[in-house]
Amino acid sequence: MSDNDSQQSEPATDGSGPGIVAPDDEVPSWRERKERTTGLSRLTYEYFERARREDQDLRQESSYVERDVLGFPAWPHETIRNLAISSFFIGMLLFLAATMPPTLEDAANPAVTPEIILPDWYLYWSFGLLKLGPINPELSILGGDKIMSDELYGVLANAVVFGAIAIVPFLNKGSARRPVEQPFWAAIGVGGVMFAFTTSVVAVQNLAPIDPNITFDLAFLLPLVAATITYAVLKTMREGYMYDLNRRYYRLRPPR
């Protein structure tokens, strides 16, 4: 105390001074502070506490098998493998670039519409979807008019494709991973890939020596056929496969 008094007679330049109180037993700990909060922060605190406990329980009861050998060494094995793969890949890029250089077409000329208008290949499917006009429904109520323009129909088709891809994880749940486990979803995937190809063909149909009507019908038929075949094949393979998988995996680790 006396020590403090003598110090207080001098100007305090060290930042200490009245107002800063050393923590004593009365001062709440961080934990206590959090426990005392209300509303959303209280909820957050409670959830995190629960989650932490859950984690710990899971870890304690887990039959996690740890290796008693060293892992695959990052140096040199993994590093060299990565370097090799990357070099190969970049080498492939350079090879493509050197052997198949791009051309520079004629300069833009708004006055001349070229015979063939095409985006890059990876947009062919999207461009093909713009040509779905023939299946744009005509409503008899509207006297055979279409509810929307063919262009809008095409744009919407693009939006639908992206939307469908985006919601896949929310439609197909569960712990199955291999296509054989879920022939239906594998079939959807194969059908989708096929559809991307066939719509691409529709997009470039004026380059192909096939009747556009045939191409158009095939655009919808082929994906169905491909999906059906996939489904049939996987469904047939499934029984034997699932027997193994059940015996080895799902019995040990039943799906939630």
């Binding site: 098998v65 740890e66 290796r67 060293l70 892992g71 695959f72 990052a74 793969i85 890949f89 970049i90 492939m92 890029l93 493509l96 670039a97 198949m100 250089p101 791009p102 520079l104 077409e105 004629d106 300069a107 833009a108 000329n109 708004p110 001349v112 519409t113 070229p114 208008i117 095409l118 985006p119 890059d120 290949w121 990876y122 947009l123 461009f127 713009l130 323009s149 262009e151 809008l152 095409g154 744009v155 992206f162 891809i165 985006a166 896949v168 994880p169 197909n172 749940k173 569960g174 712990s175 991973r177 291999r178 979803w185 594998a186 995937g189 193994d244 998988l245 080895r248 995996y249 040990l252």
Partner: protein, 264 residues
């Protein structure tokens, strides 16, 4: 509090009593000198921790742990497609920056200035032809790799809980990658570019309510011209690179956090 060092921290005394060789002594003195200033000890601990996390105690993979069939490695090369997207993206970024030194978006003159600049790059610049070629091919390969990567994720069921968010980020990345390709396709301002742009404007205008606004926003009007090229340029070299780089970092960060979905 006294500034005198307490005995147990008297490193000099400790050094003396250890009777070290010159090399050892120099090493320790240097180490101590730096440690006093930067507290290396803390960082060494982190490094050590990381080393053990990475190199030791690898858990068995699902296929090992449950003795599933050992043919799964056939599919492993497909797991490299995501990394291939990244590598191709980096190559495209590098060559794109170099191309950017010689390119400017302008439709003025006949032939349009941008087109003329591309002619210069291809005909007169040292290595310019190759540069453009590499840029194009890396873009094509990146797009292909992204599509195939998506298929690999789909067919290995790797999008399921808890990886839904990464799948959605992936869909956004797919759209942006295609957007990268499209905006780049317009930059040479040749016939293909012009008419691909025309289709873009028509697509935008077909949409009710927001269509005209979108056409003006993205294409700078209802017919193509200098504003269109300028916008495509800014999207291609400024907006998309930031957004896509950030999203890729996030995407791979999440993969790092969650781990690769294991086959079973």
């Amino acid at each position: 509090m006294s500034l005198e060092r307490k005995d147990e921290y008297d490193h000099n005394a400790w050094l003396k009593e250890r009777d070290l060789s010159v090399v050892e002594k120099t090493y320790l003195m240097t180490l101590i000198w730096f440690d006093r200033r930067f507290r290396l000890v803390d960082y060494l601990e982190i490094l050590e921790n990381m080393y053990y996390k990475i190199n030791l105690q690898m858990p068995k993979s699902h296929t090992e742990q449950y003795n599933l069939d050992n043919k799964f490695w056939y599919w492993y090369p497909l797991y490299a497609l995501g990394s291939f997207s990244v590598i191709a993206y980096l190559v495209a970024a590098l060559t794109g920056a170099l191309l950017g030194f010689y390119y400017a978006p302008s439709t003025a003159g006949t032939p349009p200035e941008s087109y003329a600049l591309l002619t210069t790059i291809m005909a007169d610049q040292n290595f310019g032809f190759m540069l453009r070629s590499i840029h194009r091919w890396s873009a094509q390969v990146m797009t292909a790799a992204v599509f195939l990567h998506m298929l690999r994720v789909y067919f290995t069921g790797a999008y399921k809980e808890p990886r839904e968010v990464n799948w959605i980020i992936g869909v956004i990345l797919l759209a942006l990658t295609v957007g990268f390709g499209y905006t780049g396709y317009l930059l040479p301002w040749n016939q293909l570019a012009f008419w691909a742009g025309q289709i873009g404007v028509e697509m935008a205008l077909a949409v009710p309510l927001v269509g005209e606004w979108a056409a003006q926003m993205v294409f700078g009007g209802f017919s193509l011209g200098q504003p269109t090229l300028q916008r495509m340029y800014i999207l291609h070299v400024f907006v998309l690179p930031f957004v896509v780089t950030a999203l890729i970092a996030l995407h791979i960060g999440i993969v790092w956090m969650q781990g690769i979905a294991e086959p079973h």
